[in-house]
């Protein structure tokens, strides 16, 4: 064997239902497998998956781990700890007079995460169970103003008393968030010293001026408290996993995927646990970005359709779209994260007739009891049942035959629950379910692209997740994209993202810089030297972090950006800044880019320079490139002409049965161009191609669905 191929790269993603694993060798050949996620101890599922892949490769886990160069991990550990409220009891120390900030949540807590269609039910609005109850919140005298002036000095005896009281009330970790602390971090730092003094050096402490030094005390407090609430749990888990991997032979780098799509060392992740809150779905977007750069796709819509939800991300000009504030578990986290929008649409979404109308989702049967056809006790019709009845899923080969489905039960349920009440045939009813769920997903995609001034025709749509490849032909056509790609790694795409990620550090700081209203040349009001100094300081911090992770200087890529808005607006646009020194010319370019983006987003003529311009946050993202192999050229399993089977599939558009070509994915060869309707089958996934579409395969094994012109 080629010795180079003995170097392995591993990505693992612990999702809600399955733990997915991807192993790639230096030649770019991949092995994937999945094991049930074990929520009580996630590492068990990881090792089960490792054993399955090692067996596929014909070696032991120890032999395989011994060859691993890099082990990337995307984890839902932080999210689970938040949702299940089993984080560490955290004491919060805050400015006197403002202890209720985290309780009041700017009034946003009781509607967070509620889809608009459920807002009409006022009685169901409720605040989240507090991550930190009122008894664990202590106020201390101190006050700093917006310019960073100290108006009330820190009352140190009061801090001591507060720390002791919080400890007495059960606090095991600490968070400190003072008003305007990012303009004057000294008070928070002093509190840390006092906590260490009292609670010892081992105490887990988060300072808001370090975790999230941005304007907005509610989101900053929530982010800081969540960091301390999740930190100890995440740290313990990562330590446990890393040392078990090492005990079984891992000598390569172990790193964790964060929510902005970079990897961090386990140690960094443990101190910034809040950055892992969207680690799971981010993997898919990052895997897509890596693939997109290989394939030369600048703009990509990533779609991950699983059992309960449909997660969407965007890659524009090769970069994932980032959001500054993200809602997680009914709290609002102020840290840059890959912007992922989720709606309740998946294979498990329930279809029902209410008031003579057919509704699909957001209610879901999930994995348990799941669709009627799973025979696990599910009695309500789901999207997967419709797919089965329409012939898109083959009941005998679903999940490589590991799970047998009951098409008769699915058909009976659709007939009784949907078709008869609506006076339709069973197949019309099933087709209706499919059309509605596809249209909903297309509406979401349209809001995210067209709604932000982008034309979906400029994008390639990537589809992955359990149900994604079965539905992408429908929602892709509905959206109007020209090309849909189902990645070769679609069955474990998030894990692939964890494998392919670069090391990433970001730093940001809020600082309000404004131009005068009415100034026709607003850049003249901006002090470019001052802004350059702010960026330089942020960049120094990021570079030294990358150095600590062993990234050489010439492998660091620095990207600067600023949040910009018109004066008095509250919603900013993130404007990237080009390389080179930040001088007067750069300020002018920045303002030009802002107004260009603004008009692109909100329409020509929307710009309103007369109002004046504000820069609110400055951000540096530093990426340390880590080498990982390119995909191996795909070698089909059959070289002779494959005999292609056919089976009838119900076409939801024309409303009739068509003869669909059935072809195993591994048998497709480059140059094959198969017209739809077609079903491409793989042991872990099913890809459906519509009547007016074509499917082909590229050199590395990705499927391409092209709309007939």
């Amino acid at each position: 064997m080629d010795p180079a191929s003995e170097q392995l790269y591993v990505g693992v993603d612990t999702g809600g239902t399955f733990t997915d694993l991807v192993v790639m060798d230096a030649a770019g050949r991949i092995h994937t497998n999945k094991a049930p996620t074990t929520p009580h101890a996630l590492e068990e599922g990881v090792f089960t998956a490792l054993e399955l892949v090692a067996a596929d490769r014909g070696e032991t886990v120890e032999e395989m781990l011994g060859k691993v160069e890099s082990f990337g991990h995307g984890t839902t550990q932080a999210t689970n700890a938040l949702i299940e409220r089993n984080g560490t009891a955290t004491g919060l120390i805050t400015t006197q007079g403002f202890g209720d900030t985290l309780i009041i949540q700017r009034l946003m807590g009781f509607t967070a995460g509620m889809p608009t269609e459920t807002l009409s039910q006022f009685k169901s609005r409720s605040y989240p169970l507090p991550i930190t109850p009122r008894q664990l919140i202590a106020e201390v005298p101190e006050r700093v103003d917006q310019a960073g002036n100290v108006l009330v000095p820190l009352d140190e005896p009061a801090v001591r008393a507060a720390v002791e009281q919080l400890g007495h009330n059960g606090a095991k970790s600490f968070a400190v968030c003072f008003l305007w602390s990012f303009r004057h971090p000294e008070h928070e730092r002093r509190v840390r010293e006092i906590i260490r003094d009292i609670a010892g050096d081992g105490a887990y402490i988060s300072l808001s001026s370090e975790v999230s030094p941005v304007l907005g005390e509610y989101e900053r407090t929530a982010t800081t408290v969540l960091n301390s609430y999740l930190g100890p749990t995440v740290a313990k888990y990562l330590e446990r996993l890393e040392s078990s991997l090492q005990a079984r032979g891992l000598r390569g780098r172990f790193s964790v995927l964060n929510s902005i799509g970079g990897v961090m060392s386990a140690r960094d992740a443990a101190s910034r646990a809040v950055l892992l809150l969207a680690s799971g779905p981010t993997g898919g977007v990052i895997g897509s970005r890596y693939l997109a750069s290989e394939l030369g796709h600048a703009n990509v819509i990533t779609t991950d359709m699983g059992g309960t939800s449909f997660d969407v991300g965007l890659i524009v000009d090769g970069r994932p779209v980032i959001s500054g504030v993200t809602e997680v578990g009914k709290y609002h986290v102020s840290a840059p994260m890959v912007d992922i929008t989720a709606i309740g649409a998946g294979g498990g979404s329930i279809a029902q007739v209410a008031g003579g109308k057919l509704l699909v989702g957001p209610e879901s049967a999930g994995a348990f009891p799941g669709p009627v056809a799973y025979r696990r006790g599910g009695t309500r019709v789901t999207v997967t049942d419709a797919d089965l009845v329409l012939g898109i899923i083959d009941p005998t080969t679903f999940l490589g035959g590991r799970m047998s489905l009951d098409p008769e039960a699915a058909e009976a349920a659709i007939r009784e629950q949907i078709a008869e009440p609506l006076g339709l045939s069973t197949f019309e009813a099933a087709a209706g379910i499919r059309r509605i769920v596809d249209a909903k997903m297309a509406d979401t995609l349209r809001e995210l692209t067209v709604g932000r001034g982008m034309d979906p025709r400029d994008f390639v749509l990537y589809a992955y997740g359990g149900a994604g490849p079965m539905h992408c032909a429908g929602f892709g056509a509905e959206l109007g994209v020209r090309q849909i790609l189902v990645p070769a790694t679609s069955m474990a795409h998030s894990a692939y993202g964890a494998l392919a990620s670069d090391i990433h550090h970001s730093a940001e700081i809020s600082q309000l810089v404004r131009t005068t209203p009415g100034n026709a040349e607003p850049w003249l009001d901006l002090d470019s030297a001052h802004i350059a100094a702010v960026f330089a300081e942020l960049e120094r911090g990021c570079r030294s972090k990358l150095s600590e992770n062993g990234v050489p200087d010439d492998q660091m890529v620095i990207q600067r950006s600023a949040d910009v808005r018109y004066r008095s607006q509250t919603h900013e646009l993130i404007i990237p800044i080009g390389d080179g020194p930040f001088d007067d010319a750069a300020t002018q370019t920045l303002i030009g880019d802002f107004e260009e983006t603004y008009e692109q987003t909100y329409g020509r003529g929307a710009a309103f320079r007369e109002a004046g311009i504000e820069l609110t946050t400055f951000r540096v993202e530093a990426v340390g490139h880590t080498p990982s192999p390119a995909f191996a050229v795909h070698a089909p399993e059959y070289h002779a002409e494959v005999e292609r089977a056919t089976r009838p599939v119900y076409d939801v558009v024309s409303g009739g049965w068509l003869k669909a070509t059935i072809v195993p994915w591994p048998a497709l060869r480059t140059g094959d161009r198969i017209p739809g309707p077609a079903v491409v089958e793989h042991p872990t996934t099913t890809v459906y191609v519509d009547a007016n579409q074509w499917v082909s395969i590229d050199a590395v094994g990705n499927l391409l669905i092209t709309l007939a012109m």
């Binding site: 006197q96 007079g97 403002f98 209720d100 309780i103 009041i104 700017r106 009034l107 509607t111 509620m114 608009t116 807002l119 009409s120 039910q121 006022f122 009685k123 605040y127 109850p133 009122r134 008894q135 005298p141 006050r143 103003d145 917006q146 108006l151 009330v152 008003l179 305007w180 304007l215 907005g216 005390e217 509610y218 989101e219 008031g355 109308k357 057919l358 609506l422 339709l424 059309r435 509605i436 249209a439 509406d443 809001e447 067209v450 709604g451 005068t516 209203p517 018109y566 004066r567 008095s568 607006q569 509250t570 919603h571 987003t601 909100y602 329409g603 003529g605 309103f608 007369e610 109002a611």
Partner: protein
Amino acid sequence: MQTNAAGSSVEIDPITFEVVRHRLSAITEEQAITLQAVSGSPVVTDATDFNVGTYLADGSIVTMGPQVLFHSGSMASVVRNIVKDFSENPGIREGDMFVLNDPYRGALHQPDVSVVAPVFHEGVHVAWVGCCAHQLDIGGMNFGSWSIKARDIQQEAMLLPGVKLVEGGLIREDLWQMIMGMTRLPMAVGLDLKAMIAANTVAGRRLVELCDRYGVDRVLRVMEMEIDHSEEQLRDRLRTLPDGTFRAIDYLEHDGHENRLYEYHLALTKSGDELIFDFAGTSPQAPGFINATYSGLVGGVFTAVLPILGSGLRWNEGLLRPLTIRAPKGSVVNANWPAPVSSATIGSIWVVTNVSVAALSRLAVVSAESASDATAVTKGSMTALVLSGSNRDGQPYGNFFLDSTAGGGGAYHDHDGLNASGDFCVPRPAITNVESHEATGPVLYLYRALIADSGGPGRQRGGATVGLAFTPHDVDSLETMIVGHGVEVPNSVGLFGGYEGSCNRNEVLKRVDGLSPVGRVTTFAEHDGWQGERVSLGAKPGFFTLNRGDVLAYSFQGGGGFGDPIDRDPKDVAADVVDGYVSVGHAEDVYGVVVDRSGAIDASATTARRSAIRAARIGRVPAATASDEPVPGTRTLTPSLLLSDDGDVVCRCRHSFGPGFDWTARAVRRTVEPEAHGPYVRLHAELELREFVCPSCGTLLGCEVARIGAPDLTTVELR
């Protein structure tokens, strides 16, 4: 003008219906996102004081956003008035948009500016899209356009009757400059108008695309069906409820000129699948700016109907169709031109919603299916605070503070009201961060916190309110204006024995030389220790100057309680004490629960205390105990009263009040001091607080805020 009255004959399959319907909601959502992103004011971005929607060509609401609900009812009238007044001249053509803020032509009050646009498909006018957003200043005698001393509408603000601001896709520069010249904040208003134009452009374009894709007749048919469907669902729901009349009264103090008390009477009659809201008995219109026009009245009623009887339904014109709304012409809820109306939203419209919520909840609670949507009044008042002056950089500064939405929510039959709930008219509220306020203006906050004992006590507690204080910072002074109500009227009434939530409190702590208030005033309680003069402001102090060193402190109404407070589970009271929402003293006095700060309950002392409270109410040891056991031969009248098959009103303890719905005449009836209901309950000199108690078991069956000497209100009458 050619309009398409929709293809009522077009057949729509249920799948196309659902696909197109979802798309219409998505368009409305995109409209709201665009408006919020472009708007320059936290009134829009945080407080969501705006709404958006799509309408049929005749103005019927097809979709609306989950933002301030008052607007949704009024925007249909905006469209209808433009169609009525301007179809001929200047005409309604493709690429036009109209701007309107005249409350006598559909607006709620002048600061709520609507921009609506006709949508044309292949040259035919098929629909409308529109936005409405509260503007920070639209001129008139006062900054912020809350024209407290106005006596007629001409003094209050600019008045736009539906002017064609956009013609053939272009903003008319002459009209644009005219509007910019009449506002004190052209930057903010300019951004908001552009935001509304952008949102309408987006929505109009999407609607046309939808018509291209599915055919205009089909899209219009779906719009009509969607309205019909909601109407049918509401009518179905109404048919499950008993026929009867449900009443509520509320009050508003101070009309801008004098501290007079205005009365709002509502008799809601439910008959078959219809609802009649009758405001007969409501006070005549006021000489000042608190009046509502008819469009405001509709907005106020619709706001209460949507979440209570429209819970879980899709909100559109269909929910208005079963309603009839009547009010005497020339009354404070249906004023005659040119009565001033610039504070209508936070004046008469607000109180219209209060009485509508109370009456609708009295109706909803009678049926098991809708009982869970019945709610005591949520934060029954609103305070507008406007600051203006110079900013720290010398630029002009002006802002409308909406932290005052952070009052308490009304309690439900099975759960407490929300602490810091926002207003009933706002489904998804938000307040601005303190740091954002301090970054944009020369103010420094001293505290912003929940206030103990502010939620209306009840078996289920009303939500606690927030209170806050700030001082001018980096400048010598700020011009301040406060307009509100509910300082001397506890508008957040409870239901079925629940108490009222706290009243508003507006205070200035006057500066003391050499003493910064920063670090000295950090809680609501610390006002008591202030060394300087402490000025208690009424409901409408109007304009005053806040100087460096002065403190402005205000707090809002808590939510009303639900059911008798001494029936609250002692464990819930103890949890409230531990969390600090209820004080130890309040727990004992009002809830009859003897508990210490750690939450330890003294069970026998609690039993004794509760018995003593019951005995004190009726002047003797109770002879019976109420129970939740079903009583054969009766049906529900209220959660604590039953109606027997032979027409007697019966307490859950089996005590019979005899026939007739005026059972209060045969209850133990007492008037109590406002302090008995909570430390922040206050009463106007002309008001009193009444309690109605079962003479047999001592259960508190109802409370009433009433004008002294007025007869008791018969709140529920079933037919």
